[in-house]
Homo-oligomer: 356 residues x 2
């Protein structure tokens, strides 16, 4: 005769304990806890709730997930939480997901393809109900991910082929918009500072910058490629503006790099926007507090989050793939030359409070 296995004790009070205490069946406890699917007499429900309180019963979401087949968990993969853009996106996605009754398992790929593949695997193993990924992989690499039958939305990935749902910002239009603004200021030699990789959203920014300068009849400006970090922007800025014939303006493809460029310019003794005009891509809160405040092409982070979460929750086996492309918008700061002086940050409110 077989003996049963003895798994480690964890969650001492179970639904059965509550049932026993309240003198009902475990099914009734479920009905009370979940508000259905069967009705429960008011007096019984009260007794059950009382038992739950007295015993300190806490439902086990793991068991529930195993039984129902749904974890109400969304997996999110971003390249770097330390980048304010992704932090803001993660916060927004978390907020939208919470409104829909989902929680988010947030993971950080450190822009490492191998790590990204591993993260996707563990998220799937954890049975997430949906997956949102800002991938660093190329289109063909993405196709190799073990995405099986998990509803997936790729963020800002435009070369993944038709097999994936995508939500992204029109980076090409955004880069054109920002570059055009510098052209409107009369600049004729406009550099591009951009990440070193070949992710599709980077290529799009490069295309937008090229398109704007060319359609204005200007020659292509210099390109400085470096890491998608503050340090990368700093190095790119030093190279670009200490060259023999430095450009008078630059479109920087991310706020983090722009922060680095600002430091480089400061060290080189160049003033913004007087000597060099700058427009950057992202429009994170950090960009509102640089000196001067950056003029930016702002990513519609909230809208992206909402579109992505709603889409991933709507995906079913036979739904056709969708591709949303959101429009970024230009937000004028003090780095482009529109204002003689720095503009107020958005969070500004009349000074109030104590100074003791």
């Amino acid at each position: 005769m077989m003996q049963s296995a003895r798994p480690p004790v964890r969650h001492t009070v179970t639904r059965d304990d509550v049932a026993r205490y309240a003198n009902v069946s475990s099914a009734v406890v479920s009905y009370v806890v979940n508000g259905g699917p069967r009705p429960v007499a008011a007096s019984t429900a009260t007794r059950v709730r009382q038992a739950i309180k007295v015993l300190g019963y806490r439902p086990n979401a793991t068991a529930r997930a195993l039984r129902t087949g749904s974890t109400r968990l969304l997996g999110l993969v971003v390249p770097e939480i330390g980048n304010p853009l992704f932090a803001e996106l993660a916060v927004a996605i978390e907020a939208v997901a919470a409104e829909r009754g989902y929680e988010v398992l947030l993971t950080n790929s450190h822009s490492d393809p191998a790590r990204e593949r591993r993260l996707v695997s563990t998220l799937i193993a954890r049975q997430v109900d949906g997956l949102l990924a800002w991938t660093m992989l190329t289109g063909s690499e993405v196709s190799l991910l073990p995405l099986d039958d998990v509803p997936t939305v790729l963020l800002n990935t435009f070369n993944a082929g038709p097999g994936f749902d995508t939500v992204g910002v029109d980076a090409e239009a955004g880069a054109s918009l920002g570059t055009q603004h510098l052209i409107d200021h009369g600049h004729e030699r406009i550099a591009l500072v951009i990440g070193g990789g070949s992710a599709s959203h980077l290529e799009a920014r490069e295309r937008g910058w090229t398109a704007a300068t060319r359609s204005a009849g200007l020659g292509d400006g210099p390109i400085a490629r470096d890491d998608f970090t503050r340090a990368g922007g700093y190095r790119a800025g030093l190279r670009l503006f200490s060259s023999p014939h430095p450009p008078g303006a630059a479109f920087v493809s991310s706020d983090m790099q722009a922060t680095g460029v600002l430091r480089a310019l400061d060290e080189l003794g160049l003033r913004v926007p007087h000597d060099v005009a700058l427009v950057s891509f992202d429009g994170t809160e950090e960009s509102e507090y640089t000196l001067p405040r950056l003029t930016v092409v702002r990513q519609p982070v909230r809208a992206m989050a909402a579109a992505a979460v709603d889409r991933v929750l709507a995906i079913s086996a036979d739904s056709p793939k969708e591709h949303s492309l959101l429009a970024p918008r230009l937000v004028i700061g003090g780095s482009c030359g529109c204002h003689g002086r720095v503009t107020k940050p958005e969070g500004y409110e009349r000074p109030a409070g104590r100074v003791s």
Copy 2:
């Protein structure tokens, strides 16, 4: 005769399918997948692995967790992922946890006590193996959390009473260190910019600032309290430095606020460090890219992460509570007056790469 319930189909290929395909028992598949606890013949193992590959089998972590009683998941609650300090801490905790074979469920309380309580509840419901929380609650409120029997480490919480394990930085010593540095520069009236709340780590910073000025025989400087954000620092800075008798130096209790103070000073036409000297608390990467670079009391983020994760994994029912207090250190930047000019950011490397 009873019929069985029919949960929704999800994960089509199960461990039993693999067993059937490889012509072994499901136990053997487990042994192969988990590398134990019983040995498996090499040829059998190969057959099983082949079956796994062919069928595209992916283990179900939910079922595993239910069975073993361990999710290998750590819950983390921080006040605001948008704050670079917490982003850096989250990344560090994630990295340490990964080394120990754990993943992190990261949640954001938005500094809202009610939300924080809810997060703790859902993390416990999700059966995290441990909980790390940078709480905004007071000591007595923390005691009311349904922490039951989940190993918990509180981060930077010093008034939670002896019932909790804690890991934190010595904020009082840090604030003294930073303030003392301004005193060493000859400042006699040193303001404090600090958050409006009453969290214990804020009180500690205030104590440290007070202790340093008093032991130097100086009178207490002005205090500006405002939100723990860039906007809060900006408002505090405007109030503080547009007052009739503005201080010549300030110790700012967070990098984010310091960023706002820098903007306020810029708008008021005051130069740093020439007119006003600044030292701030945190030492995030962002503080290395402000203009000028901030002189900071740097929080030992990596060390905190390691201490917290190791501690939470070591906690058992009968282990006595521990309280680690880590030492922050002063990192000189360009805002205190040590250098005539801005110092190089840490990420600095000799310029290299293309400028096309």
